[in-house]
């Protein structure tokens, strides 16, 4: 165990810090009052990712030939840490970078890697995930969106649901049924679908936050070239599971949590509670400290997994808890923030007297969605107990 960084890495950290200081997007109040999926915000978010990429700070660990730098995981960790410290906005292309990217690197053809990976990094192409269907939620493998291979093309018919970012995504990585007669896990394939293909209809779904963050996506005789198949025909479940593993890590990512915790501590110091800063109230202090300890534990937990990854050790049971713990922790942080805000908590974005642009209320609801999405907390517990502890499947 050695948590010190080499001299070169410390130099690199300084570089990143000063770069962020110079290049961090200016706070724009009119922008903060818009919903996250407003086209202007999407445009700015793409510009931010592009800028970060050009500076060399996005997906640094990817191989050079696909737009990465083959850099060490340590370097990427330094960037992530500095981004938290600088309160930098996250990446709009995170699903492409953290979910599809690693899957393509492992399962994609050389052509696919060269075609898709670089544009994921530059935010030229934003990806969405076509997994859930109206009849296939926790039981994802029962999905029914059909893809029939006719000549060199798949003809796709069916419907996806809860598809985040589909309203502005350029591409979708999608699970489809290619063999309806095979057992459910063995008739699924993994397709890359251009969202501009005729026959695709995207219909926004309003979330409890009031925003149209996710969508229904309908496919009517949508033609997808066979070359867009990732992995073998009917072997999509294997590929999908790989992406799901990366999704659980993305959703359970600790950098976002650390940033939220910092904001919560700042809020606690600035809010008054019966004539004193809330952070001086002994009960609030207990709650803050408990959250901070859980956040710090997850930080060191991610270091531990990072070390395993560098050493090429399999992730094991330690990694199985990331999604469950991370998403619940985020929600608990927001929950305490609302408690601190009291009567100010329910004020909507853009309303007079609203605190922090109403982000806490928004995040309070949004983080509840993340507890459900990407495999509910209950499904996570099944995964941990079955795959991690070897407890038998439920009848």
């Amino acid at each position: 165990m050695n948590l010190t960084y080499s001299k070169e890495d410390e130099e690199f950290r300084k570089e990143v810090r000063s770069w962020l200081k110079k290049n961090l997007p200016k706070k724009d109040k009119t922008l903060s009052d818009l919903p996250p999926h407003d086209p202007e915000r999407v445009k700015r978010a793409k510009e931010w990712q592009r800028k970060l990429y050009e500076a060399g700070y996005v997906a640094m660990g990817w191989p050079k030939e696909y737009g990465g730098q083959g850099a060490s995981v340590v370097r990427q960790t330094i960037v992530n840490e500095e981004m938290v410290l600088a309160r930098a906005p996250g990446l709009i292309g995170a699903m492409g970078i953290q979910m599809l990217g690693p899957t393509l690197i492992q399962f994609g053809t050389e052509e696919q890697k060269r075609r898709y990976l670089p544009k994921i990094l530059t935010a030229e192409e934003i990806w969405c995930q076509g997994y859930s269907e109206p009849g296939a939620g926790s039981d994802l493998a029962s999905l029914r969106t059909r893809a029939e291979l006719v000549g060199d093309e798949f003809i796709v018919n069916g419907q996806k649901v809860w598809t985040s970012n589909a309203q502005f995504a350029d591409w979708m990585f999608c699970l489809v049924r290619t063999d309806p007669d095979a057992p459910k896990h063995r008739g699924i394939s993994y397709l890359l679908i251009d969202m501009k293909t005729p026959g695709i209809t995207v219909r926004p779904l309003i979330q409890m936050t009031g925003d149209a963050g996710f969508n229904e996506v309908f496919f009517e005789d949508v033609r997808v070239p066979r070359a867009n198949l990732v992995g073998e025909l009917n072997q999509g479940w294997l590929v999908a599971n790989n992406t799901l593993f990366h999704e659980r890590n993305l959703l359970g990512s600790t950098t976002r949590t650390q940033l939220m915790m910092q904001n919560l501590l700042r809020l606690a110091r600035s809010r008054q509670r019966y004539g004193k800063p809330a952070s001086e109230d002994p009960v609030i202090r207990q709650k803050l400290a408990d959250l901070l300890i859980r956040v710090e534990a997850m930080k060191y937990h991610s270091y531990r997994q990072l070390t395993d990854a560098i050493a090429g050790r399999p992730p094991g049971i330690a990694a199985m808890v990331n999604k469950l713990v991370g998403t619940e922790l985020n929600h608990d942080i927001c929950s305490l923030a609302l408690e601190l805000l009291g009567s100010y908590a329910p004020l909507n974005r853009g309303t007079p007297h609203v605190v922090d642009h109403g982000n806490w209320a928004y995040e309070f609801m949004f983080t509840l969605g993340l507890i459900i999405g990407g495999g509910t907390s209950q499904i996570q517990k099944n995964i941990i107990s079955e795959r991690g502890l070897g407890m038998p499947k439920s009848a």
């Binding site: 001086e280 300890i293 531990r304 713990v325 107990s385």
Partner: protein, 377 residues
């Protein structure tokens, strides 16, 4: 940047587990709980042969000179095996007091004997007020021509009757953190008496220790007169890391016992492990234990390598593991059903030790507030 264990550390874990499985099964733990002092000098000697009693002691004084992280890994195994005895108090706390606060002569006099397992020490910190802060230390040490005279009562002293030497926190003057001094006193010193207090944890013993005009030579003073609180603070941090490590090992074992039991216990014609109610309970235990493990490693590492972070990390680990161990053993008992409530089944050994660990050296509430103060909330 490396947040993992070395091969040597993994070897230490494995060999400790093998040794304790062999030398300290629960049948032995139960036997020992009926003995007068709850302590086996033979086991202590065998642990000394493994090098454990000298793990932290520099090689020049007969030890292995290893780190707090190594010690934490060993203590985790001891918690797993609910090892009875004063090991943690002797080979971590008293030992560290000498390493960090002792003069060359004191180190030479005591460390080789501690390393060899010839003598056992313990820490007498608390008094009747049960306060962990400096104001809790009121036992008087009055200077005389050849040394000091100690008068007062220490409480909840672990394994005092088994110990050969007691590290006693006393007040030589002043108030609060000023004027506290630390003495290493032999247990058979005239005027020193130990009264056992019976507790529900079968693996621990605590005593009321009275000092009635106990005279000690000036060489018994560890560190400067009136300078003891800094050393004691450091020992409290060490105790937090040690107890957190012990709790981690115990929690992991309780989880494993509960999961194994549910796999063999059948009701409604199937193993109860197939019921989601129990699977989710087990998963929740894992989701608390695994991040907590990372926190314990960090606290142990910080104790040596990041002095400015050490107290903060120790408090975080102690607060979290106090909660997690208590909650895990509670769930583990429930997962066993009726048999888990019996004296015959072993699970209560962990359940009770979890409670002792929870309150010793500050409970979760205490350490959360300490963290809030250290971080300037």
């Amino acid at each position: 940047m490396d947040f993992g264990l070395s091969e040597e550390q993994e070897l230490l874990q494995r060999s400790a587990r093998e040794f304790l499985t062999r030398e300290c099964p629960t049948t032995f733990v139960r036997e020992l709980s009926k003995e007068k002092d709850g302590f086996s000098r033979e086991l202590h000697r065998k642990m000394a042969e493994q090098g454990w009693t000298g793990l932290l002691i520099p090689q020049g004084y007969g030890g292995l000179g290893l780190s707090m992280l190594d010690m934490a890994l060993l203590l985790e195994e001891m918690g797993r095996a609910v090892v009875p005895g004063p090991f943690m108090f002797s080979s971590v706390l008293v030992t560290l007091a000498l390493i960090q606060g002792g003069s060359a002569a004191q180190k030479k006099a005591w460390l080789p004997r501690l390393a060899a397992g010839e003598i056992v020490g313990t820490l007498a910190l608390l008094e009747a007020a049960d306060r962990l802060d400096a104001a809790g230390v009121t036992l008087k040490a009055k200077k005389n021509r050849t040394g000091y005279t100690l008068t007062g009562v220490k409480m909840f002293v672990p394994f005092a009757a088994a110990a050969d030497v007691l590290l006693i926190a006393a007040r030589t003057g002043g108030r609060g953190e000023d004027g506290i001094s630390v003495f290493l006193v032999e247990r058979d010193a005239p005027g020193l008496t130990c009264i056992p207090l019976e507790i529900f944890d079968l693996t621990r013993r605590v005593y009321e220790v009275s000092c009635n005009n106990v005279t000690v030579p000036s060489t018994a003073l560890i560190g400067g007169e009136g300078q003891g609180w800094k050393l004691l603070s450091r020992l409290i941090d060490a105790a937090c890391v040690a107890l957190a490590a012990d709790s981690l090992g115990g929690a992991q074992k309780a989880l494993e016992m509960a999961v194994e039991y549910t796999k063999v216990r059948t009701q409604f014609n199937r193993p109860v492990a197939s019921f989601q109610a129990l699977k989710h309970m087990a998963a929740e235990m894992v989701s608390e234990i695994e991040p907590a493990r990372s926190l314990v490693w960090y606290a142990a590492y910080a104790f040596d390598a990041r002095p400015r972070e050490a107290s903060r990390a120790a408090s975080m680990a102690k607060a979290r593991l106090s909660d997690v161990y208590a909650r895990t053993t509670n769930r583990a008992v429930q997962m066993h059903g009726g048999i888990g409530f019996t004296w015959e089944h072993d699970i209560h050994l962990w359940f009770k030790r979890a409670k002792w660990n929870e309150f010793a050296f500050g409970d979760a509430t205490y350490h959360r507030e300490r963290l809030a103060q250290l971080d300037g909330f």
